[in-house]
Amino acid sequence: MILQSLYDYYQRKTDLPREGFEWKEIPFVIEVNTSGSVVQIEDTRKQEGNKKRGKPYYIPQRVKKTRNVVANLLWGNAEYVLGLPNSKKLSETKSKAKETEYRKNLKDKREAFIRKIKSLPPPCQADEGVRAVVRFCEHNDYTALERFTEWKEVQTSNQNITFRLQGDIELICQRQAVTDAVSKSATTATPDGVCLITGDTDEIERLHAPIKGVMGAPKAGADIISFNRPAFKSWGKKQGRNAPVGKRSAFSYTTALNYLLGKDSRQHLQVGDASTVFWADKPSPLEDQLPDIFEDDPVDDPDRGALAIRALYKAPHQGIAPINDDQTRFFVLGLVPNAARIAIRFWHVGTVAELAKSIQQHFDDLEIVRSRREKPHLSVLRLLRAVAVQGQRKNIPPNLSGEVMRSIMGRLPYPDTLMQGAIRRVRAEREVTYPRAAIIKACLNRRASIAQTSEKEITVSLDHSNMNPGYRLGRLFAVLEKIQEEAGLDITATLRERFYGAASSTPVTVLSNLMKLKNHHLAKLENRGRRVNLERLISEIMDGVDDFPSHLNLADQGRFNIGYYHQRHALFTKSTETKQGD
């Protein structure tokens, strides 16, 4: 269904390139006159951030090549178009004493480029533009190019080059005669099999166009459908015959996917290691909003995510976009690279309404008290980083991002590894951060609601009625820590630093000692009223706990963390309130 949906999306998007063509950024255009001599070299690049990007042109599709010499039609890099050596490759081959081979290879490339042009059908050969390029190639004269300032960069960068005829607006490869020939050769097919996407007879594609833009995959692109090892083949079939996909379908799905993964695509977001794309059957507001909802806010527009999420919640009330009854089908596809191939990490099909509801549910589950500095909505990346060592993106466990996305979209329990990760990080760093508390709360609540247990739901802020021993002990620990802090002792390691791990997993080993220690700390408090208040708070908490348990299971450890987080938060908000009251 993945390829079928992409195929349908291509049919829906009429502005995507037609068969045999693609959009490609070309940094240099050589302008020639009819006799084939150079008029100028145009540098089409524009500064974008700290990179220069060439202007995108609609040109004949790139030919798939690996190591062999295959030329594109009327465009290519300097090696092909001008036979210029790539300086990096040249020095490399020189050091390996293979320079002569490289020179020969260059010659082959150049010849292949010219042969490709000469193989065009006769009406093209008669075309002025094509004739000009052929003449230019025959002159083979660099001195004419050397007087231009752009020449130096053309020489060193080995970027893509194409041609324009003097006085024309379009490129030579965009001239009518050429485009006709290209689309004709792309659409004429001798049917020799049944396409498994459309079910129609078509010419079976041997090699599919590469998919570009998946993070971690080779820059030149990787494949979803490829059979690059003997073990992948069946029944002695070769390449594309192992999975018969028609030429037209293959072009459609690769073009659609490349468009979705493209640099300027708004339907692309990175979730952990998975490059995620999404699309709908019909244009839908969710197509635009999804990246804002799940990704970190861009630096230049810090409120974008919050606005998108608010739109998701408010839309039904204000009647702007009836997103909640939108029955348009919505597809989410997560891709990860694996050894020059692309693997599907997750695939979700649902309606826009379902997905909107699932996303709302996700944010509802995550909601927990937070300090005013924190943003209300946590991006998926922030959640994942909260369970990664040192909070670094590269330490996020592989596969976790996909599992999390699947849980969000399918309203399934969050993966166990997410909560385990959060608890482990809390123990290791002895710090219950806002994202970690949110994760633990969401995991526990969602699991309970799906299993329909009678477990008490964890609230957004401190819950005095929650009698779970884990939760209570977490609260107790927060108060004990607070007492120690207020005692104003000059110590290097606080209670939390020394005992948090033990208290949250095996309470009996430390908490009875800490209860004794507390008395000493309380004695140091100068304010008597405060002392009484804290004592009262402790007895209120201990009211529901008969005995310190010998150990807490993982879920209760989670509740311990939440109890600690809630109580600590409550202690601090109260103190600031009283200060404001004074």
Binding site: M1, L3, G199, R229, P230, I344, R345
Partner: protein, 245 residues
């Protein structure tokens, strides 16, 4: 039509690999006819019979799991085999430690299906080129002639199947798409007391039906437009219009 049988199969995992994504595996949403056929064949198969799947009922919601695992990337080359045959000895071993590769897979999780199929007698001569030792019967004999043979008797095969399926006996352990996803099976005799399939209706796209082995040097895949209709995939007949390939 011959008597139709129903088996309930269930397992923790399943992967009915899509041909287009068989390297980095992605499963079809539901069981394919060829996988269902293989389950029946694992209980009773004879050169004289052919199983035809008619219906696949999905009993549990479609759930997915993404797993990476090691698989072997190489095959023993024909040339090495030929060389070994000529020399009379040789090493055709394949060392998995050297030839393995990590591959991702998107599998189905917690599945259960009720599969319906019947069998018919076929000319055992069909297998003669592959299994000459199995086929003692002269080829190209008429259907009536075959039915008359005492060893190719529908009732006999029916009894065999019923007896074996009832006792949970099989020639090889049935599996759900990939050998490593073995499944449990149960003969369903009274459909009245069975749970209903899931309440899902959707198009599944073109699905692999089976391979056409009529030209054994170049087997061709055949596809059919699959559709989940209230949790049921109705499998068209092999010869019907909808089946292409």
């Amino acid at each position: 039509m011959a008597k139709s049988y129903c088996l309930e199969v269930s397992g923790d995992f399943a992967c009915f690999t899509r041909p287009e994504m068989k390297v980095e595996r992605v499963s079809y949403d539901v069981m394919t006819p060829s996988a269902a056929r293989a389950v029946f064949e694992s209980i009773v198969w004879k050169p004289a019979i052919r199983w035809r799947v008619t219906k696949i009922e999905v009993l549990k919601p479609i759930k997915w799991i993404s797993v990476r695992r090691n698989e072997v990337k190489a095959v023993v080359t024909t040339r090495n085999v030929q060389a070994a045959m000529r020399a009379g000895s040789g090493n055709l071993g394949l060392y998995v430690e050297n030839e393995r590769q990590q591959r991702a897979g998107l599998f189905l999780r917690d599945v259960a299906y009720r599969i319906h199929a019947y069998f018919e007698l076929r000319d055992p001569g069909f297998h003669k080129p592959h299994f000459p030792h199995l086929s003692n019967v002269p080829i190209n004999r008429g259907e009536d002639d075959l039915l008359a043979l005492p060893e190719n008797n529908t009732v006999k095969f029916m009894n065999m199947f019923e007896r074996r399926a009832f006792h949970g006996q099989c020639v090889n352990q049935p599996y759900l798409g990939c050998r490593e996803f073995a499944c449990a099976f149960r003969l369903v005799e009274d459909l009245k007391n069975e749970p209903r399939p899931i309440d899902v209706t959707k198009e599944l796209g073109w699905m692999l039906y089976d391979l056409d082995h009529s030209n054994s040097s170049d087997p061709k895949p055949r596809f059919f437009p699959a559709r989940l209709d209230n949790g049921v995939v109705h499998v068209p007949a092999w010869e019907s219009e909808e089946v292409r390939g």
